[in-house]
């Protein structure tokens, strides 16, 4: 185990632009920035940039003492002692100070007002490490030289483990760690983050997320914001996302884009997914067809309950709902329906055709959305199947889809903003 001893903490702003004197007391320059390497345990400083426009740095090992007034070197300065910025190093001030970062703890965008650094010794080696970033008002006042005004205020630090800079300039190791931490965030929080970002940072963050997470986050946004994000992404990423989204949502988004753009994206999507979406886009707004999704669980008539349960294990993670299982023939004609409960309690060898209810409540794709809501409400359904004139199964409409329609999500124009707050609180609650 390595022995770590903390020698003292200080702020980046306290040493920034302070003079650097060498062993003979000659002035070498001022602290312009510091290079940092982000490898093993904690990010640590490797060198000090001492003049503007010069890429050479003074190695941190040459610093003998440091206080509020000056930095002293242990050797006489000559160009030979300087080092160059390495590929795996980055200038910390330029990279973090005054920039926006993602606070992974509070899952929001914050601005870095100052940095907390510390001298530590590990295995008898002295290191200057990054401890935290200061995102509080007190840090802001400190930078302006008027910290004394807010002496009673608490500092608001964020440990370096919980930051995700918008511009990734660090090692692969660090990026993997960031990715893992991002994975912990709730999609609703990621959606909020994405909505408050500039489009370039937004695109970068989406590329950092894994695709399922990006889709989940996108699903949390309002249609208007979804359209904006898809419009801003490059065509390949956009089409990949659309492809993996539920087809009804993809169709909604594509329907809002210009004809050229949506054609272009559809062409880039895999043919199967694109076909489903195209099918859905045919239906006009406010019809059952526009509301439905083509993803439902349909089993053949002669499947046994046991086989069906096994099959369900495969299909369940992807399906929009698994509580209703539809029974269809080879032509995809709707023959009957059974609930998940009925399937589970049935004798394993019973065939579905003997388990199912033959009288099914269903709806035509051209019916109005009000009618859909009426039916779902009247029969207390979780989903209703959509069939055409010859009873061919086209898709399903789930109760969520109808709810979204009846209660617009996080409306801007809502007069009861408490509702929004409460909704967000429940979301947070789920994430914990």
């Amino acid at each position: 185990m390595s022995e770590v001893k903390i020698l003292g903490e200080f702020y980046f702003s306290q040493i920034l632009s302070k003079p650097i004197l060498d062993a003979q007391g000659r002035r070498v320059g001022r602290v312009k920035d510091m290079a940092m390497r982000w490898d093993s345990l904690a990010p640590h400083v490797t060198g000090i940039k001492f003049a503007k426009g010069v890429l050479d740095m003074i190695p941190i090992e040459m610093v003998s003492s440091m206080n509020q007034r000056e930095i002293r070197l242990s050797v006489a300065f000559s160009p030979d002692i300087t080092v160059q910025l390495q590929d795996d190093e980055t200038f910390i001030g330029k990279w973090l100070l005054d920039k926006q970062i993602i606070d992974l703890e509070g899952s929001k965008l914050v601005r870095v007002n100052d940095l907390t650094l510390s001298w530590i010794t590990r295995n008898h080696k002295r290191l200057m490490v990054l401890v935290a970033v200061d995102i509080g008002v007190r840090g802001l006042f400190r930078r302006l030289g008027i910290e004394f005004l807010v002496r009673r205020m608490k500092n608001n630090f964020l440990g370096w483990q919980y930051i995700k800079p918008l511009e990734s300039r660090t090692s692969a190791l660090q990026i993997t760690r960031e990715k893992e931490q991002l994975r912990e965030l709730h999609p609703a929080d990621i959606a909020d983050l994405l909505e408050t970002m500039g489009y370039k940072e937004r695109t970068d963050l989406i590329h950092t997320l894994d695709s399922q997470q990006a889709i989940d986050a996108l699903a949390e946004m309002e249609l208007e914001a979804q359209v904006e994000v898809i419009n801003q992404l490059d065509e390949n990423t956009a089409s990949d996302l659309l492809e993996e989204m539920p087809p009804d949502e993809a169709a909604d988004i594509l329907g809002e884009l210009s004809v050229e753009k949506s054609e272009e994206l559809l062409k880039l999507m895999e043919s199967e997914g694109a076909e489903d979406v195209r099918e859905l886009m045919k239906y006009e707004e406010d019809t059952a067809g526009a509301l439905m999704t083509t993803e439902y669980i349909g089993f053949p008539l002669y499947l046994t309950a046991e086989e069906a349960i096994n099959k369900l294990r495969e299909l369940a993670p992807e399906a929009e709902t698994i509580y209703y299982l539809f029974v269809v023939d080879e032509e995809e004609t709707l023959e009957g329906v059974l609930s998940l409960r009925e399937l589970i309690i049935a004798q394993p060898s019973t065939q579905l055709k003997d388990l199912m209810h033959k009288k099914v409540v269903k709806i035509h794709p051209l019916e109005s959305t009000e009618k859909v809501a009426d039916i779902i409400n009247k029969y207390g359904l979780l989903a209703v199947p959509v069939v055409d004139e010859v009873q061919k199964m086209l898709g399903i409409i789930t109760v969520d889809d109808v709810l979204e329609l009846l209660i617009p999500e996080r409306g801007k124009s809502d007069l009861d903003s408490w509702l929004v707050v409460r909704k967000r609180e429940t979301k947070r609650g789920q994430a914990e």
Binding site: N113, L144, G198, K412
Partner: protein, 416 residues
């Protein structure tokens, strides 16, 4: 691309430039252009046209920066120049915008006085309604109503034609640089520039480009939006000057209150002139009174990293809503000062705007010329040249004004 789909794309991204342009001809704008026409006839048309050309350039730079970076101006200043410069820029913006908010409330007070309502009733009421609407409802929809009210300013265009101004003289004056070293003239010239190109207008156009999600890819349509908007600002300003010059200047009627400006609308509306003027003034003032406190709070919170956005609750974003409320209260309270000449408030705030514009322009141009931020959308050297020249002229004028006020003999002697 087919022209139809081109048009559709244009319509979907248009807005920021045109809204800014209309809010630009606000209470202060009308007051300043009218004063310029009434006092100096057609002499300041040249200054107005030059500033409109530069308005187009400045708005284009801001809109392009917004599209290329996806971020606001305050954000970029903080990231590029650090916290002290950001504080400086925000202080400048706060002073300029607070002044302009005062002038908007003066416009609101004047409009209601035309309708026979005392400012002690109208101003607190409107201030509260604006505050309430922004916090509680979707103000974008309301924005459309005030934009419609602004259309009444086209009545100056009709009026300007109906008075049969000496077109030949107007045209000659439009291309002749007029200059005088008297403090009054300098004040007026800076006022005209300061009301045409405003610090808030630059922040606002960039913020709304970002807000609309416009990217570098579909920027070229936004360029048209900005150019058309700037054209209309200048177009209406031109006719206000012409209309007031042909009616007030010719008959030596000085403008004492904003109501006198309505006289220029008499040829068109006869006895209803003041009513027509009142509606126009109300629309423009309210539109800008909505936009100003809001965009100021956005910029300041963006620069300092405070939570912001109208979709947040006041508990989540206390700094944002606090600042917004304070600006509205201060702006409205100032106007209620007894015995204050509302008209002079409108004029003076525009001069302050003009004097505070250079620092903002310098940041804007510096940022827009950086390849590291703007990539291929960085300013071209020609653009930079024009922008620096204009900034230098504006600084020069401000210095001249200060000198002329302190040592009246010196400057007028220079131009005698």
């Amino acid at each position: 691309m087919m022209w139809k789909s081109r048009l559709a794309l244009f319509l979907s991204v248009m807005g920021p430039g045109i809204v800014t342009a209309f809010a630009d001809n606000d209470a202060g704008g009308i007051a300043t252009y009218a004063a310029a026409g009434a006092k100096y006839g057609y002499a300041l048309i040249f200054t107005m046209i030059v500033s409109t050309v530069f308005l187009a350039i400045a708005q284009e730079i801001s809109a392009r920066t917004g599209a290329a970076t996806g971020r606001g101006l305050a954000d970029l200043i903080r990231e590029q120049y650090g916290v002290r410069w950001a504080l400086f820029a925000m202080a400048v913006l706060m002073v300029a915008n607070l002044g302009t908010t005062v002038s908007e409330f003066s416009g609101i007070a004047t409009a209601f006085e035309i309708f026979g309502v005392s400012k002690y009733i109208s101003v607190p009421l409107v201030a509260f309604i604006i505050w309430w609407l922004v916090i509680k409802t979707d103000y974008e929809r309301i924005e459309k109503i005030f934009l419609l009210l602004c259309l009444t300013f086209f009545s100056y265009v009709i009026s300007g034609v109906m008075v049969h101004p000496p077109w030949k003289e107007v045209m000659i004056q439009s291309i002749t640089p007029n200059f005088s070293g008297s403090p009054d003239f300098l004040l007026m010239a800076i006022g005209v520039i300061g009301t045409t190109i405003t610090p808030w207008g630059q922040f606002y156009v960039q913020a709304s480009v970002v807000d609309k999600g416009i990217t570098a890819k579909n920027y070229r349509y936004t360029r048209w939006d900005v150019l058309i908007g700037s054209f209309f600002t200048g177009f209406i300003a031109f006719f206000i000057i012409v209309a007031t010059a042909a009616t007030l200047y010719v008959n030596h009627i000085p403008i004492e209150t904003a109501k006198d400006v309505a006289i220029a609308l008499k040829p068109l509306a006869g006895e209803y002139a003041s009513l027509l003027f009142g509606f126009g003034l109300l629309g423009a003032s309210v539109l800008a009174a909505f936009v100003l406190p809001l965009s100021t709070s956005y910029a300041v919170c963006e620069a300092f990293g405070f939570e912001h956005g109208i979709s947040k609750s006041s508990r989540e974003a206390p700094a944002f809503f606090g600042l917004y409320t304070v600006i509205i209260i201060l702006g409205a309270a100032f106007v209620l000062w007894p015995g204050l000449s509302l008209y002079h408030v409108m004029l003076v705030t525009q001069v302050i705007n003009g004097m505070l514009l250079p620092p903002i322009l310098i940041f804007m141009v510096l940022i827009a010329s950086k390849k590291s931020i703007m990539g291929e959308y960085a300013n071209t050297p020609l653009f930079n040249g024009v922008a620096w020249l204009f900034t230098a002229i504006l600084i020069g004028l401000t210095v001249l004004l200060l000198l002329a006020t302190l040592f009246p003999g010196l400057v007028s002697g220079l131009f005698a």
